[in-house]
């Protein structure tokens, strides 16, 4: 984990690097009248040199948030502010320049690399787009980046189809760092890799974050992975945040029933030899985002559901110095954290 103190990034006197406010993202469905609201009023902040983990099941909207921040998906309402500048308002040349400050490591390492380009060309591309130097400078920088992700020069002229998933993902990371971004967004960056390979990539990311002093938004459905890496964690359910808390306290003492359920369903932290990690097992299935439950969205699967939960949607509120929870009964519930 990074060297940031456990009280979270939003200390009173430091401006957060990234601030997402009331983000809403709608998708128009063909044939349906009402749009699908994948992200419904999400707000959070990421400080400098902080690793922020975002957890959610599939369908929770976490990838949509990543893409909204990257300006790859248009934001329907709300703000994305990066270092004081409103990213979502930018267009054209200004956008092209500013978006270089946020880079992404994509989920599918294979799909993220143009099959016709060599590793050298792939890592070079962002540098060329940003006009970062002469031919010689580029070569040096590419080699330097490659070494940073623990790949040697022999990879320079190879094409993606000759490399394994882990190697490709390292190339993706190298490429994402080329423009020296202030924020690195990792969208399920290890989910499609073999379990045995994940540790290496996660450690690499942790090292890079420390060495380069960047912030990281790490998105995953796997609480175990996020717990290892993140300073603070946000828990996403059906397009809204259920809880934001420092990693340590979230794991030891969750304040939202959904977090508790996720922790309870975790597989043991011993790396298994199975390829895919099981998604969190909770009773029932996530309702469709097209018609979310009234009131609190989690109420259909919540052990502690009361009548109030069906009528009023709980806002995300500060219950502690550095914890925010969206639950009517956050103060009263005594939830169980990670088994020791």
């Amino acid at each position: 984990m990074s060297a940031v103190a456990d009280n979270g990034a939003a200390a009173a006197n430091s401006v957060p690097l990234l601030s997402a406010s009331e983000l809403k993202v709608d998708f128009k469905l063909p044939g349906a009248k009402a749009p699908l609201r994948a992200v419904d009023g999400v707000s959070f902040e990421i400080g400098r040199r902080e690793i922020f983990g975002l957890i959610g099941e599939s369908g929770s909207g976490k990838s949509t948030i990543a893409r909204a921040i990257m300006q790859l998906t248009p934001v329907s309402s709300g703000e994305v502010v990066l270092g004081g500048m409103r990213l979502d308002r930018l267009r054209g040349r200004e956008l092209r320049r500013q978006r270089q400050r946020v880079q992404m490591v994509f989920q599918d390492p294979h799909d993220a690399l143009d099959p016709r380009m060599t590793v050298r060309q792939a890592i070079e591309e962002p540098l060329r787009a940003g006009n970062r130097g002469s031919r010689a400078d580029l070569d040096d920088r590419v080699t330097d980046l490659l070494h940073r992700v623990d790949l040697d020069d022999s990879y320079l002229d190879r094409k993606p189809h000759t490399m394994s998933g882990g190697q490709k993902q390292r190339v993706n990371i190298a490429r994402a760092l080329a423009l020296e971004p202030e924020l690195l967004v990792c969208d399920e960056a290890v989910s499609s890799l073999d379990v045995s390979v994940r540790a290496g990539i996660i450690n690499l990311l942790a090292d890079l974050q420390r060495d380069l002093d960047i912030s990281v938004l790490f998105i995953s459905h796997d609480l175990g992975v996020v717990a290892h890496l993140a300073d603070r964690i946000g828990v996403l359910y059906l397009g809204r945040l259920a809880e934001i808390a420092p990693a340590g306290s979230l794991l030891a003492r969750p304040r939202h029933p959904y977090t508790e359920a996720l922790l309870a369903a975790e597989p043991e932290p011993v790396p298994s030899t199975r390829r895919v990690s099981r998604p969190p097992v909770i009773a029932g299935e996530m309702p469709s985002a097209a018609s979310p439950p009234s009131g609190c969205r989690f109420r259909t699967r919540c052990r502690y559901v009361q009548e109030l939960c069906g009528t009023q949607e709980p806002p995300l509120q500060r219950v502690d110095r550095d914890t925010l929870v969206a639950c009517h009964f956050a103060d009263k519930l005594q939830l169980t954290g990670r088994r020791a």
Binding site: D114, D150, G166
Partner: protein, 338 residues
Amino acid sequence: MEQLSSELPGTTRGTPRPARRGRSGVVRHWLWGDLRSRLATCVVAIVLLMAIAAPLIARYSPTAQNFAPFLGPSSAHWLGTDDLGRDVWSRLVYGARASMEAAGIAVALALVVGVPIGLLAGFRGGWVDAVLMRVADTVLSFPGIILAIAITAVLGPNLVHSMIAVGITFTPSIARLTRSQVLVTKERAYTEAAVSFGNSPWRIVMRHILPNSIQPVVIQATFMLGLAVIAEASLSFIGLGVQYPAPSFGVMLQSASQFIAIHPFGVYPPGVAIALIVLAFNALGDSLRDVLDPVASTRRRVRLAARKARRRTLRARAPIAVGTGHPQAPAAGTTNGE
């Protein structure tokens, strides 16, 4: 391949390397990979040679009417003479030149106009896409030759005009094909990555979208070369393409058809030439598809292997019955289609 410390030995190393041999290997495999492609390449090479070096290969001038008409093949006239005493072989050679020119113009036009339209429609989407595709559909509602005839009538009948017309009729399918490929490529993560680097849209299209969308278009263009040859012959046959007495397969067929009763042989040289050229282009198109699309080529390899296995079983079962090629019910798991 070096192993990284974090990867356990024995873990999968990504997709196995397909039978790619680098650029020159691909071309070699395409043109010379099996018997069919070799024959096709030879035919195309010969025809191109005819087109380029026509004066050297033809034995006489294509329009010289010095000889007796309706002679059969002989050593003096390899394919005989036509109704006006012209040497058919010489006319054929120059006709090949006209065909290649024609095919080139039509397909080049279709690509030059169709690919950008497809790129634009696929990449921009929205109303631009809707309008462009609607126009493409409209052009496609006309039977190809009919539209070509109409356009040629308006422009004036000659080779260039008629092949411009044919090119226009080819353009919508090229545009649609390009567009459908662009729609796929647009969604790939590497395209989004390119966007996130701050690349201009032009760069993204030129560096990522176009190169990754073009393969099926090239294959289709190869098939269209054959279609263009037939189109030229058809239009010239009805007097709207190459104008008599200039040589072209269609013109030759036109005069041969007039005298078919007395000299039936006359229809064969140009017709067989057309068929051979079209077959060659089709074979090259198939071969290109096999080389570029590993899935389809896998199927083809499986199919050929199944055929070999079947012959082996027959040989083992009934030595006398070899060569009848007459198995019982199709084996389970026969591959589908091409």
